[in-house]
């Protein structure tokens, strides 16, 4: 942190947060802190089980009057340099007489704050709170002959830098993505919306992990009743640990048993910004680059940010293509089996002859064949994800050559099945949000079995079941299939096709934003 020294002065002046430092609460009932510094240090050590990464530095200021200062911090969680230069250095140079006087002063935190050049200085006398604060990376400053412990915010955790998104890439558009650090993530959004209306609220969950969760929304645009609902749902979470935003997702989604996602998870700041502006909220969780967005609609999972960054003809074309690809990923194996076993009349004669020829030497019924190939592909895919990078090449060779070609040549499966399975697999990767692709991956098997039992009738039956389920879903009480059911003509501007942005004057209504217009009257150049 080379810049730290330059800003030393201004920081000390502006950022001491004395108002939030809790005044010593009058009760002092549970406190076990004593007036002896060594005992207090020992208390804190014992409380944590004397871990090796707990760093205790003791300075004896005046041996005669037995006045000393101790600094306790977690190594690796706090900024060593900042502790050295901003805490230890000023304190060690201090006139101890003056200091003793000041410590007895009720405004001791303010006085010390002038000396200790850190962001935030708090005064505490509750052991539990002190320990928690140390665990968050703050430095506890203990003085002799006082119960008060000062906590300087010196938190600094190693984090990786910004990198390109790994699962939601675009060709044109921002290339940054969220990281594991909560503050970095919120800053990426703040940098894009420099407006005081952008509000962040801190919530905590995880009985053991005390994970930081932050709720972000745009005041005046986000619907208040939905925000109220989110807060209450997050507060109700009683789980020991929150390791990823999916933990939150499972607790707060409306339908806990649905296969379809009812919250968007994204690693792209621009997606979060766009959704905040449509009146949605975002939930940031410490430790994961995936941010939750809600309330979501089904259509949103087909909207890639790139749709808006490219020419709207292209955007619309690609979006329709994506719907087709979803249909392929979901239906093609089922339709293939249904037609090949129940509806031979639907296949053009010449193709039928070719297919019949291929099927001649294949030992398994077509359902079994399709199921085997689908499962083999899923295995390959899972292997591809888990496999160490160094042997990654092997998967593609084994998958493409051995399973694709050799299986056909050996007469295990027919060539048409391989085509169908690979088409399905490729189509599945077109989804901008992979959690909706997961739904297609699983439902595909369901439709495949239905199609093999009762043919096209089964496929249709399955379709109705899926559609009925989709229409019944709610995301924070709002219909998931909005604006298709209930149908709203004006909302179709951004569903299957994307109209040019100047024409999309009103905000999309699915999230019930409080502000109607986003393009002001006369704000579009096309209107005169």
């Amino acid at each position: 942190m080379p810049s730290f020294f330059k800003n030393k002065k201004t920081k000390t002046q502006t950022t001491i947060d004395s108002s939030s430092s809790k005044p010593s609460n009058g009760k002092q009932d549970e406190t076990t802190l004593t007036f002896e510094i060594d005992k207090n240090v020992q208390l804190i050590k014992d409380c944590m089980g004397n871990p090796p990464d707990l760093n205790v530095r003791k300075i004896i200021i005046d041996a005669s009057s037995d006045f000393s200062i101790a600094m306790i911090r977690m190594d690796g969680m706090s900024d060593k340099k900042e502790v050295d230069f901003s805490v230890i250095e000023p304190l060690s140079k201090l006139n101890f007489q003056e200091l003793r006087e000041q410590l007895d002063n009720p405004n001791s935190a303010e006085v010390l704050g002038r000396l200790i050049a850190v962001n935030k200085l708090e005064k505490m006398n509750n052991l539990e709170k002190v320990v928690k604060s140390i665990l968050q990376g703050n430095t506890a400053i203990l003085f002799s002959h006082t119960q008060q412990i000062f906590l300087a915010s010196t938190r600094l955790i190693d984090k990786r830098g910004l990198s390109e998104p790994t699962s939601q890439t675009v060709i044109r558009g921002p290339k940054d993505s969220f990281t594991e650090d909560l503050r970095t993530n919120t800053s990426l959004v703040r940098a894009r919306i420099t407006n005081p209306k952008l509000r962040i609220e801190t919530l905590n969950a995880g009985e053991i992990t005390h994970t930081n969760i932050e709720l972000m929304y745009l005041k005046g645009i986000a619907n208040d009743s939905i925000l109220q609902e989110v807060r209450s749902r997050i507060k109700k979470i009683k789980i020991d640990a929150i390791l990823e935003s999916s933990y939150i997702e499972e607790f707060i989604q409306d339908s806990k048993n649905s296969i379809f996602p009812t919250l968007i998870s994204t690693e792209r700041p621009d997606v979060v910004v766009a959704n905040l502006l449509e009146g949605r909220f975002a939930i940031f969780v410490y430790g994961t680059p995936y941010v939750l967005i809600g309330p979501a609609t089904f259509i949103q999972f087909f909207q890639s940010p790139e749709d808006y960054y490219q020419n709207y003809y292209m955007g619309s074309f690609i979006r329709i293509l994506r719907f087709v690809a979803f249909f392929i990923a979901l239906y093609i194996p089922g339709l293939y089996v249904a037609i090949m076993t129940h509806h031979h009349a639907l296949i053009p004669t010449t193709l039928l002859i070719t297919l019949a020829g291929q099927r001649e030497g294949v030992p398994f019924p077509i359902v079994v064949e399709a199921l085997i190939m689908e499962l083999v592909f899923e295995v390959l895919r899972e292997a591809g994800v888990r496999m160490p990078r160094a042997v990654g090449q092997t998967v593609s060779i084994v998958g493409a050559l051995i399973l694709g070609q050799a299986a056909v040549e050996a007469g295990f499966v027919s060539a048409s099945t391989v085509i169908v399975v690979s088409l399905t697999a490729i189509a599945n990767f077109t989804m901008p949000f992979f959690n909706v692709a997961i739904a297609a991956r699983i439902l595909r098997f369901f439709l495949l079995l239905l199609g093999s039992f009762i043919g096209m009738y089964g496929i249709l039956l399955g379709t109705f079941m899926i559609l009925a389920h989709l229409c019944s879903l709610r995301s924070f009480g709002l219909p998931y299939f909005d604006p298709i059911t209930p149908f709203k003509l004006l909302e179709q501007k951004d569903v299957f096709i994307r109209l040019p942005l100047p024409k999309q004057r009103t905000r999309p209504q699915p999230a019930r934003p409080e502000q109607k217009f986003r393009v002001k009257r006369g704000g579009s150049q096309n209107e005169t």
């Binding site: 090949m340 076993t341 129940h342 031979h344 009349a345 004669t349 010449t350 039928l352 002859i353 070719t354 297919l355 019949a356 020829g357 291929q358 099927r359 001649e360 030497g361 294949v362 019924p365 077509i366 056909v408 040549e409 007469g411 060539a415 093999s452 039992f453 009762i454 043919g455 009738y457 089964g458 039956l461």
Partner: protein, 391 residues
Amino acid sequence: MKRKCLVILVLFMFTHFLGGCSNYRELRDAVFIAGLGIDWIKEKKRYEITFQAFSPTSTAGTGSAGAGSTGSVLYTAEGRTISEAARQASKKFSRMPDYSHVRIVVIGDDLAKAESLNYIFDVFERDANIRANIPALIARGTSAKEVLSVIPATEHPVQSINGKVRNSSKMLGENEATEIYQIINQLTSTGTEPTIGGISVITSENPTQPPGTKETKLRGMGIIKEGKLVGWLDGTKSKSILFLNNQMRQTNESINCGGHRYTSVRITSSKSKIKVHMNTGKPEITIHVDALGIVDEMLCNRKIMEYDVLHEYEKKTAGNIAKHIQDGINEAKKQKSDIFGFGDILHRQHPEEWKKYESRWHDVFAKSKVSIHVNFILHGTSMRVEPYPYK
């Protein structure tokens, strides 16, 4: 919740039975019938059905299927009904026959002439597994079995026959693919009679084939009267059917231009209008044909740029077309079979009159007076105007 799930699951299981005709069949357990032949065995008073199927093994084993020829297999079976014969055939089939891809139905000469065609098409409409839009042909002077037994060198026999029908109706306009549902309509209507194309077996002249190899060739359109084959419209006469049904897509006319030299005119479009009305017990049929065409070959040195020459060609072509139509109608009148559906037209145009003559329309039609007006316009001479100046 559990109860609800259970109810839904049970209801869902019931839907399996609602499906009704679930016919799970693996492709390798089915044999696909491509063509059906129906013959009448006089002595036994039974139908003989010929099944021309796609050979299942012809393309097997290879990963790259679809190479060239597709094999064919021929089976025959007898029965008092077509369905019975089909069931009897299971003694010969190793696989379940699948009729959904039947592409052609060939009717034996004996069946068409001696027995009635009225009954045999019922199964095509009644059975869900076979279509009614299959073209039918009559094996002219031979049996359906003979026709389907002819195996062309490169194609499946059924694909070959089908291709010939399609080609001839498109290029020459002398043969029309009459589909089974049309035949049924015409058989049941009192004001019209069906025509069914004829196909016969000839000896191939192809030098690459061993001598004596058989080959199929389309020949004429059969005139059906009251379910029986009564005669044939041959050659250019059969163009009358396509002209009057507005089915003519392309044909050509050879116009004499002095001596034994001819000029070929391609007719590119034609539209006919027919009016029928009764005059003192005789139908008067007025036919207007508007046709367009181009000169596509000139074998004589005429100044085609000149209006007179052009006009002469137009008149001669119109005369040719009128003659084809006249010949066709004359033949139909001779057989007392209204294959052009003039009765239906009268029915539409003068329903009251029609009722009087409906019962004896065949005889009334035979006495009809026909006037044909053809308006032909040459609208081009293709890529050249004058013929090249030979000496």
